[in-house]
C-alpha cells in the first residue's frame, strides 16, 4: 500500500478519538474479555446435577465473547459519536473530517474511518484475507480426501475444518462484491460524495473484524463440528467452539443489516441529478438487490443463533423435541436466511459482469428492462423457496410441491440474465481481456450450476441427490464458478480506479485459466462421486469413490496455484504496477470520470446525468 498518499499528520492537541485505532481496540477487547471471563468464573453458580449439557461453560464463554465485542467496538471509537449525540454535543466539522480520514495517509486504514473509499479498500483486503484462510481450509479438506483411507486429520478436527471453511467462505462471498466495490465504486458511480451514513459504513466493516475473533477463538474450544449450517440438536451437543460460531453470526448479521440499510438509502436518495431509474447502471441494481435481500434475511439468522445460544447457555428448548421445541424450527429459520443469501452472493457478481459486458463488447447493454426484471424476479422469488432445502426433512411433505413450483420458477428470471449477457455480446467487437473472458466463464459455470439446480429442485430426484457431494458441487458452481468469477473480474476491472495502477495482465490471464480449468476439473469430479452416492461432509469414503475424489483434489490444487498467482499479481501490481490512465477501459459510467487519487468527497462539482451509461454504437446521443 505504498502508493497511498502519505502525508504527515498535522500536530495539534490530541482529542480522545485521535488515540483510538485497531491496536487500542484489540487491547480493550482482550482486557474486557479477560476481566469478564475471570468475574464469570468466580461468581456464576455451578450447574445443577440434572443439567444435560455444560451450561455454565457456555455462559462464561458467551459472556466473555460479548465483553470482547463491546470492548473492541469501544476501543475502535464506534461509541464516541453516538455518546456525543446523546449528551447533546455533536461532532464538530474538524472531528468529522478527522473521522473521514482527511490528510491521514496510511493510518486511516487502521482506524474507524468513514470515507467510503477507505472502507472499500479495507473490505477488499479483508475479503482477500478471508479467501486465503478459507482456501487453505479447503486445501486441507481436499488433501484429506485425496485418498479413501487417507484421513490424517482427526474426524473432530475435520468436521470443524469443513464447518469453518463453509461459514467463512459464505461470509467472504457475501462481502466480495458489495464490500469492496459496493463501497468504493458504487457512490462514485451514482455521482454521490459519500454514503448516506458514513459512520454506519465504518461500523459495518469493523463489526466484521470484531466478529472474526470469536470464530478464531472457537477454534481453540473444540471448533465448529457441525458444518456451517449448525443444525440443532447437533449444535447443542457440540463443544464450546459453537459459541464462537453463534457470536460470529450475531455480529456479522448486524454488520450486514447496517450495510444493507446504508447502501439501500444511498442509492435511493443520493443518485446524481438526472440519474433516473432508467439511467441507473445495472451494477447499482445488483448491489441494491443484494443488500435489499439481506435486510429481511439476516435478522432471521441473528434470531436463530440467539435461540441456539439460549438453548446451550440457559437450557431453553427452542430446538429440543424433549422440551417442546423442534429441530425443524431451526432448519426453517436457517434456510429463510439461507436461500435469499445465495442470491445475495450471486446477483451483484452477475450484475458486475453485466456492467462490464457493454464495455468489452462495445455494444449497449441488451434489454436493460429485462435485466432489471430478471434481478427483481430472482430477488422476489428467492424469499419464497427456502423449504427446498428441507424436501427430505419430513417436516411438511405436502409443501414439497408448492416449494418445487417457486424454486423452478426462478429459472425464468435467471434465464433473463443469460439473455442479457449473451444479447450484449452478440455482434459486438470483443475486446479480449480478463473481464470479457470472465463473462464467458460465468456463462459456462452458471449454466452448469443452474441446470444441476433444476435436478435438485425436483423432489423425486432430490430424494436421491440431497445430502450428497452432488449438492456440494452444484453450489460451488453457482457461488464460486459464477460468483467468484464475477468478483475477480470486478477486481481486474476496477483495480485501476481503486489503486491507480493496472493489474498485471499476464499474471491475471495465467491465474484466470488456472482457476477456471482447475475449478471445472475439481467440481465435475465432485458431481460424479455425488451421483455415485458419496454423502457430503464425510472424512472418509468407500474405495469406489476414490477416482472421482482424486480428480477433485488435483483440480483443487490447480485452483490454489491460480489463486496464489492472482494474489501475487494484486500485491505486486498494487506496489509497482503500470500507472493507470483515468479511463483505461473507455467506459461510460461516472466512476471513470474522476482521476486517481480520488479526492475526499469525490467530485468538485456534482455531475448531472443526461443519458444512461450504455451509449455504445453509432447512436451517440
Amino acid at each position: 500500500m505504498t502508493t497511498l498518499t502519505n502525508r504527515p499528520t498535522s500536530a495539534h492537541k490530541k482529542a480522545l478519538i485521535e488515540h483510538l485505532n485497531i491496536f487500542t481496540a484489540l487491547a480493550l477487547g482482550a482486557i474486557s474479555a479477560f476481566v469478564v471471563w475471570r468475574l464469570a468464573l468466580q461468581f456464576l453458580p455451578q450447574d445443577a446435577e440434572t443439567s444435560p449439557f455444560f451450561n455454565r461453560e457456555d455462559k462464561i464463554t458467551l459472556l466473555s465473547m460479548i465483553a470482547w465485542f463491546v470492548g473492541f467496538m469501544t476501543g475502535i471509537g464506534a461509541l464516541i459519536a453516538p455518546f456525543r449525540w446523546v449528551t447533546g454535543k455533536d461532532l464538530s466539522h474538524e472531528e468529522n473530517m478527522f473521522y473521514a480520514g482527511k490528510d491521514m495517509g496510511v493510518k486511516r486504514y487502521f482506524r474507524y474511518t468513514t470515507d467510503h473509499k477507505v472502507v472499500g479498500i479495507q473490505y477488499l483486503v479483508m475479503t482477500m484475507f478471508i479467501f486465503f484462510i478459507g482456501g487453505t481450509l479447503a486445501m486441507l479438506i481436499r488433501t484429506n480426501l485425496g485418498h479413501p483411507e487417507g484421513g490424517w486429520i482427526h474426524p473432530q478436527a475435520y468436521n470443524s475444518i469443513v464447518g469453518t471453511h463453509g461459514i467463512i467462505m459464505i461470509v467472504a462471498t457475501i462481502i466480495m462484491v458489495t464490500g469492496p466495490f459496493g463501497n468504493f465504486i458504487m457512490p462514485i458511480m451514482i455521482g454521490a460524495r459519500d454514503m448516506a451514513f458514513p459512520r454506519l459504513n465504518a461500523l459495518s466493516f469493523w463489526l466484521i473484524v470484531a466478529a472474526a475473533v470469536p470464530l478464531l477463538w472457537g477454534q481453540f474450544l473444540g471448533g465448529i463440528s457441525t458444518g456451517w449450517t449448525a443444525y440443532n440438536p447437533l449444535a447443542s451437543q457440540a463443544p464450546l467452539g459453537m459459541d464462537g460460531y453463534i457470536m460470529f453470526i450475531c455480529i456479522f448479521a448486524i454488520s450486514t443489516m447496517v450495510a444493507g440499510a446504508n447502501i439501500t438509502t444511498t442509492v435511493i436518495r443520493m443518485r446524481a441529478k438526472g440519474m433516473t431509474w432508467n439511467r441507473t447502471p445495472i451494477f447499482i441494481y445488483g448491489t441494491v438487490a443484494s443488500v435489499g435481500l439481506a435486510l429481511p434475511a439476516f435478522p432471521v439468522f441473528f434470531l436463530s443463533q440467539i435461540m441456539s445460544g439460549m438453548d446451550r447457555a440457559l437450557g431453553t428448548g427452542f430446538y429440543d423435541a424433549a422440551h417442546g421445541g423442534s429441530g425443524w424450527l431451526y432448519e426453517n429459520l436457517f434456510w429463510i436466511m439461507g436461500h435469499p443469501e445465495v442470491y445475495v452472493i450471486l446477483i451483484p457478481a452477475v450484475a458486475a459482469l453485466m456492467e462490464m459486458a457493454p464495455v468489452f463488447s462495445r455494444n449497449p447493454l441488451f434489454s436493460f428492462n429485462v435485466a432489471v426484471l430478471g434481478i427483481a424476479g430472482i430477488s422476489g422469488l428467492s424469499v419464497l423457496v427456502w423449504a427446498h432445502h428441507m424436501y427430505m426433512a419430513g417436516w411438511a411433505p405436502l409443501l414439497n410441491a408448492p416449494f418445487m413450483l417457486t424454486t423452478e420458477l426462478i429459472s425464468i428470471p435467471t434465464g433473463m440474465l443469460f439473455l442479457v449477457l449473451v444479447g450484449t455480446l452478440w455482434r459486438g467487437r470483443l475486446w479480449i481481456t480478463v473481464p470479457l473472458a470472465s463473462i464467458f466463464a460465468l456463462l459456462w459455470n452458471f449454466m452448469i450450476g443452474g441446470i444441476t439446480g433444476i435436478y435438485l429442485s425436483d423432489v423425486p430426484a432430490d430424494a436421491f441427490l440431497h445430502g450428497s457431494m452432488y449438492v456440494t458441487a452444484h453450489f460451488h458452481y453457482t457461488l464460486m464458478g459464477a460468483g467468484l468469477t464475477g468478483a475477480i473480474a470486478s477486481l481486474v476491472y476496477w483495480f485501476p480506479k481503486m489503486t491507480g495502477r493496472m493489474l498485471d495482465k499476464k499474471l491475471s490471464w495465467i491465474s484466470f485459466w488456472m482457476v477456471q480449468i482447475g475449478f471445472n476439473v475439481a467440481f465435475i469430479g465432485m458431481f460424479i462421486v455425488g451421483l455415485a452416492g458419496q454423502p457430503r461432509r464425510v472424512e472418509g469414503y468407500s474405495a469406489i469413490f476414490s477416482r472421482g475424489n482424486l480428480i477433485t483434489t488435483i483440480g483443487a490444487y490447480v485452483i490454489m496455484a491460480g489463486m496464489l498467482i492472482l494474489l501475487h499479481a494484486v500485491v505486486s501490481s498494487w506496489r509497482n504496477g503500470v500507472k493507470a490512465p483515468m479511463n483505461p477501459w473507455q467506459a461510460k459510467t461516472l466512476e471513470w470520470s474522476v482521476a486517481y487519487p480520488i479526492p475526499l468527497e469525490n467530485f468538485d462539482v456534482l455531475p448531472i446525468v443526461s443519458s444512461d451509461a450504455y451509449g455504445y454504437g453509432k447512436a451517440k446521443s
Partner: protein
C-alpha cells in the same frame, strides 16, 4: 431465436445466424449425449422402480436442457469467432447498435416458461406416485432408528437388527426416527432418502425389485463418525426372508 433488427427483416439469412444454427445443431446432441452418459454411468444400476424413475427424470431434464445450453454456447462461439480485438486500447464501437429486441425477449421468456412448466409437471407426476406409495396398506412396516453412529431396524414380528433385510418385490414403508441428533436415512440404489428427526417419526416408501446387497448411508452430518454411519441392505427372495426373520425372532426371544 435470433436477435433481429428492423432494417434486416430476413434475419435468418444473416451469416452469423446461420453459423449459430449450425453450432446449435452440433452442440445439442453432443452436450446431451456427453452429460447423460456421465450421469448414467456414475449412478449405476437401480434397485427399485423409484430409482429407475429418478434416472429417467435426470436423463429427461438433461435432454431438455441440452438445446438451451447449446444455444447459449453456439451464440457465444459465433460471437467469439467473428470480431475480436487485442491490445491495451479499446476497439471502435459496434456499428449496429442493438439495444433491445422485444420479439427475442418474448420468445426467450416464453420458451423458458414452457420448459419450466414441463419440468414442474413431470416432477409432480412422479412425486404423486411416491406419495401414494406411503399410504399403501399392503406394505410391510419397518421402524428405522438412527443413533450416533448406527442404524437399527425393527421388523413387524419384533426382531431388531443392525443390517436391513428386505424381501424382493414387496412394498415397504419405513417409519424413521432418531434418538439423538438429526440423521438422514439414504438407501442409495433405491433412490429414497428421509431425515431421522429426534422426537418425530417421518415416512418414506419403496419397493425393492432386485435381489442383492445395496448401500445405506447417513446423508446428514451427525457428528464425529458421520462418514462411517453406513451399512447394507440385503434384498432377498420372499422365502429366504421368511426363514431369516423367524430365525431372527427366535434368537431375540432366546437372548
Amino acid at each position: 431465436m435470433s436477435l433481429d433488427t428492423q432494417k434486416s427483416p430476413q434475419w435468418w439469412k444473416k451469416k452469423d445466424v446461420k453459423q449459430t444454427f449450425i453450432f446449435w445443431l452440433i452442440f445439442t446432441p453432443l452436450l446431451g449425449y456427453i452429460s447423460s452418459t456421465i450421469q448414467i454411468r456414475s449412478i449405476g444400476a437401480p434397485a427399485s422402480e423409484t430409482m429407475a424413475g429418478v434416472i429417467n427424470l435426470i436423463g429427461l431434464f438433461t435432454w431438455v436442457a441440452a438445446p438451451v445450453a447449446a444455444l447459449v454456447g453456439a451464440m457465444c462461439l459465433t460471437t467469439l469467432l467473428s470480431k475480436r480485438h487485442y491490445g491495451d486500447n479499446p476497439p471502435p464501437e459496434a456499428e449496429n447498435e442493438i439495444r433491445n429486441s422485444p420479439r427475442t425477449n418474448a420468445i426467450w421468456i416464453t420458451v423458458s416458461s414452457v420448459l419450466c412448466l414441463f419440468a414442474l409437471v413431470t416432477g409432480l407426476v412422479v412425486l404423486q406416485k411416491d406419495a401414494e406409495a406411503i399410504t399403501d396398506s399392503a406394505a410391510m412396516d419397518i421402524n428405522v432408528t438412527g443413533q450416533q453412529w448406527a442404524w437399527n431396524y425393527d421388523y413387524p414380528n419384533g426382531a431388531r437388527t443392525e443390517v436391513l433385510y428386505l424381501p424382493v418385490n414387496k412394498p415397504v414403508v419405513f417409519h424413521i426416527t432418531s434418538v439423538d441428533v438429526k440423521h438422514s436415512f439414504w438407501v442409495v440404489q433405491m433412490g429414497i432418502k428421509m431425515d431421522a428427526n429426534p422426537g418425530y417419526v417421518t415416512e418414506t416408501a419403496v419397493t425393492p425389485n432386485k435381489i442383492g446387497v445395496f448401500d445405506i448411508r447417513c446423508a446428514e452430518l451427525c457428528g464425529l463418525l458421520h462418514a462411517y454411519m453406513q451399512n447394507k441392505v440385503h434384498v432377498v427372495s420372499q422365502a429366504d426372508y421368511d426363514a431369516w426373520v423367524s430365525n431372527r425372532a427366535k434368537m431375540e426371544a432366546a437372548a
